[in-house]
């Protein structure tokens, strides 16, 4: 049963706790996303995120790594409130984007999700034409001008590095594209909304090395203009494309630092063990 519930209980913890100050390595960055004492429960028994305090900098790529089931996807989906769709789930604490609590009742969900785009692990283009896939977001967000939409189609596809391959068949079904092309179409579709932040949940895990390389190239291009948060199981990938890396374990944020430092000289032993493949 796919049931979509958009009401989620938000309770603030009673006992006041010290909110950790900005990490020194982020001193020169503008913080876009920040969580404060974030606890997430799928149900009272499934405590998926435990006291997460994280800061994500502007126009940088931040990677989440960690063993399967540690809560990376859950955390990512807190940023655009996709977890709202899960019946019975609730959270405590705060998720701030540009200083505003996204779980505040004044927030318009549609605006939040337009601003915080998401690319899923399994590419999910709509069964429509390529053009319709790209214009879906702008259209539901109220853009109707034909020229404007056309302009968006071209620029989004170019940004996602798909334009050359599909420019002659914009009106073909999106489902006829290859897996890698479909995933880049999903990126283009997200870009069409002109978001500030793009969340990517293992965007290349189902792709071959060449397609993966293309996606990584695309991400490298995009980080000039967008804040990107990416979940990945591929250590090399995290090392190649990210500026900062956060390591999670059993629902807790173990360590976050610059990617270089995490991969060369992590503070916590567990991180080193995981990165070097000693467990996980």
């Amino acid at each position: 049963m796919v049931n979509i519930q958009e009401d989620i209980a938000v309770t603030t913890p009673t006992e006041p706790q010290e909110i950790p100050a900005a990490k020194p390595f982020l001193a020169n960055e503008r913080i876009v996303i920040e969580t404060q004492r974030l606890d997430f429960y799928y149900n009272p028994e499934a405590h998926a995120l435990k006291n997460i305090n994280i800061q994500i900098p502007d126009k940088k790529v931040t990677a989440f790594i960690g063993p399967s089931g540690c809560g990376k996807s859950t955390l990512l989906r807190c940023f655009n409130r996709m977890n709202d769709l899960i019946a019975g789930a609730y959270l405590t604490g705060k998720v701030l984007i540009d200083g505003e609590d996204v779980y505040d009742s004044k927030i318009r969900l549609e605006e939040l999700r337009k601003n915080v785009g998401m690319v899923f692990q399994k590419s999910n283009p709509f069964p429509m034409t390529i053009r319709e896939n790209v214009t879906f977001g702008p259209k539901v967000n109220g853009i109707t001008g034909k020229d404007e939409l056309e302009e968006i189609v071209v620029s989004s596809l170019k940004q996602a590095d798909l334009w050359r391959e599909v420019k002659d068949r914009l009106d073909a079904s999106a489902l006829d594209l290859s897996g890698g092309q479909q995933q880049r179409l999903c990126i283009a579709r997200t870009l069409a909304n002109k978001p500030e932040i793009i969340l990517m949940d293992e965007p290349a895990s189902a792709l071959d090395p060449i397609s993966t390389g293309k996606i990584e190239e695309t991400i490298n291009e995009l980080k000039k203009d967008y804040t990107i948060v990416i979940v990945t199981h591929n250590m090399q990938q995290a090392a190649r494309i990210s500026d900062y890396t956060a390591f999670m374990m059993l629902g807790e944020m173990v360590e976050m630092d610059s990617t270089k430092r995490i991969f060369t000289n992590p503070t916590v032993k567990m991180t080193e063990d995981y990165i070097t493949g000693r467990f996980g």
Partner: protein
């Protein structure tokens, strides 16, 4: 040994065999029923040869071979002895009182197929089988010795048809001419019985209306008189065209050609002529009005009624069913309440259809229809407009009956929409309604169409609820015609399913109507299949378009 048996059981061969057998039995029954309907329904229109049988009792019969069977006869001592007997359709109901007779085969002394035996299909009293003795056409007269007697009869027949057509036109002209007067007279009589008609004002108005009616009557009197005279003259001419026909037994009779639908000499017809005749009869069946209390002629009004009713039902049931399913699936909080609702909807499918009919009668006809009459058609009361059975109420009743089917199928379609697509739409900032409209509904369309197909199949064959919500044996007018407002939702209608019941079990001449039952059943099946094929075609096209994304 026991190991072999246990292995046999493990493999499950007996169960596979039993399930295969079940399938074979089910398929066999379906094939059999369809074969029976096909052969009986389609052979009805084939012109049968006319056989003349003389019995040992010196009786002569002429007719179509209908059936042969082994019967049991008791002899004087009470012993049962098997006898063969033949059923002959002898027609001539006006002379013999019945259409069929049984003849013991052992009593048959002579059997022949006379070349010039003629089958007459008549507007009344069924077929006449016999021989043409003379043709009377106005002043002309041709006896049995005329070499071209049959051709003359055909000419006379054409003339009679023409006269009949002219008579009909004259009659129409007369009705049209007197229309305003009839309407005025109706208004007068309505006013006379209403309370206002007894007030001074009303009396004065009545007086005025009566005066203008008189005036109108005088105005049209001359034209009306002329038409009446023309009518009478035509009538006399028409009555002057007739055949003298003789039955096999030698009885003579006058047969007015204007009462004959068609006549032919089956024993002289080759396969090609018979096929042509067959095609004509088939066309008559689907395109003409019924005759002889529905046992002859066509079923066009019933086809029309069935199709219009099914369409109206679909228009009503699909939006409601789909909206209900969407609410249940996408908006309602899943829990005991939705489960209860789902269970109720499913159980609604098990309620006997006659109960829906009773509900339709009570709610739609008496309550809704009665209120509509009070509000909008009060000038016609006490004559009901919508407060009586009609095609709209019947369609809505069937829509209610088929609602569960549509809801369940739509829910299945909604569930089949990939979650990833729904999340993708929401993640792009669409509202839930936008997601439903742009992603869920198109994707669920095949499921919705499956629901529609099931609803059509169920609704088209349903008879019981219609019998109390507006179906009639013979509807004088169609629900759709060229007079404003074109679609007359208040009208009674005919329906193929009810037609089968009526012709097969309610008609005065059940034996003669039997083939008609098969033909009508066949037609109903064909229509349901056609409607389904259209829906399936659309569904397959959609399926192709929405094949789910794969890597």
């Amino acid at each position: 040994m026991s190991r072999r048996i246990s292995y046999f059981k493990q493999k499950g061969d007996p169960y596979i065999f039993a399930s295969g057998l079940g399938l074979v039995v089910a398929l066999g029954m379906v094939t059999w029923i369809i074969a029976v309907i096909l052969s009986r329904g389609l052979s009805f229109f084939w012109p049968g040869d006319l056989v003349q049988i003389t019995t040992s009792g010196d009786e002569t019969y002429l007719g179509e071979l209908w059936a042969q069977e082994d019967a049991i006869q008791l002899d004087a001592d009470g012993h049962k002895i098997p006898v063969k007997q033949t059923q002959l359709k002898i027609g001539n109901r006006d002379l013999y009182g019945m259409d069929f007779t049984w003849i013991r085969d052992k009593n048959i002394t002579e059997q022949a197929y006379p070349e010039n035996a003629v089958t007459f299909e008549r507007l009344e009293y069924g077929n006449f089988y016999g021989f043409i003795e003379a043709v009377h056409s106005g002043d002309e007269q041709y006896g049995a010795d005329h070499p071209e007697l049959y051709t003359k009869a055909r000419q006379a027949y054409r003339l009679a048809r023409e006269k009949r057509e002219q008579l009909r036109e004259t009659q129409e002209a007369m009705t049209e001419l007197s229309e305003p007067l009839t309407r005025l007279q109706r208004e007068i009589s309505l006013l006379e019985i209403s309370p206002e008609g007894r007030t001074d004002e009303g009396l004065q108005q009545l007086e005025e209306m009566r005066r203008s009616a008189e005036q109108l009557e005088q105005e049209i009197a001359d034209a009306y008189q002329a038409l009446t005279e023309k009518y009478e003259k035509l009538y006399l001419e028409e009555r002057g065209i007739y055949l003298t026909v003789r039955t096999a037994a030698g009885e003579e009779k006058e047969l007015h050609l204007s009462e004959v639908v068609r006549f032919f000499r089956p024993n002289q017809m080759g396969v090609f002529a018979k096929s042509w005749h067959y095609a004509g009869k088939l066309w008559e069946f689907v395109a003409d009005d019924p005759r002889e209390s529905n046992t002859e002629g066509g079923v066009f009004p019933a086809i029309f009624g069935t199709v219009v009713m099914v369409l109206l039902m679909s228009i009503a049931v699909v939006p409601f069913g789909v909206m209900a399913a969407i609410y249940l699936n996408e908006y309602a909080r899943q829990g005991p309440v939705t489960r209860l609702i789902r269970m109720s909807v499913n159980n609604l499918a098990g309620v006997p259809s006659i109960v829906f009919g009773v509900f339709g009668l009570g709610f739609f006809i008496y309550f809704v229809g009665g209120s509509i009459d009070q509000l909008f058609f009060s000038n016609k009361l006490p004559e009901p407009t919508f407060g009586t059975g009609g095609i709209l109420w019947a369609s809505l009743t069937l829509a209610l009956l088929t609602l569960p089917v549509v809801v369940v199928a739509t829910e299945e379609g909604l569930l089949a929409v990939p979650r990833a697509n729904k999340e993708g739409a929401l993640a792009l900032g669409s509202t839930r309604w936008q997601m439903i409209r742009k992603v869920v509904l198109p994707n669920a369309m095949p499921g919705i169409l499956t629901g529609l197909i099931l609803a059509i199949s169920r609704g088209a064959g349903e008879v019981a609820p219609l019998m109390i919500t507006g179906v009639v044996k013979l509807a004088p007018t169609l629900a759709l015609d060229t007079t404003f407002p074109f679609l007359h939702l208040d009208r009674k209608f005919m329906h193929l399913g009810f037609h089968i019941y009526d012709v097969g079990f309610q008609s005065p001449n059940v034996e003669a109507a039997k083939p008609m039952v098969y033909s009508t059943a066949l037609l109903l099946i064909v229509i349901v299949v056609l409607l389904n094929i259209i829906a399936i075609y659309i569904r397959n096209n959609l399926r192709k378009k929405f094949k789910t994304s794969t890597f």
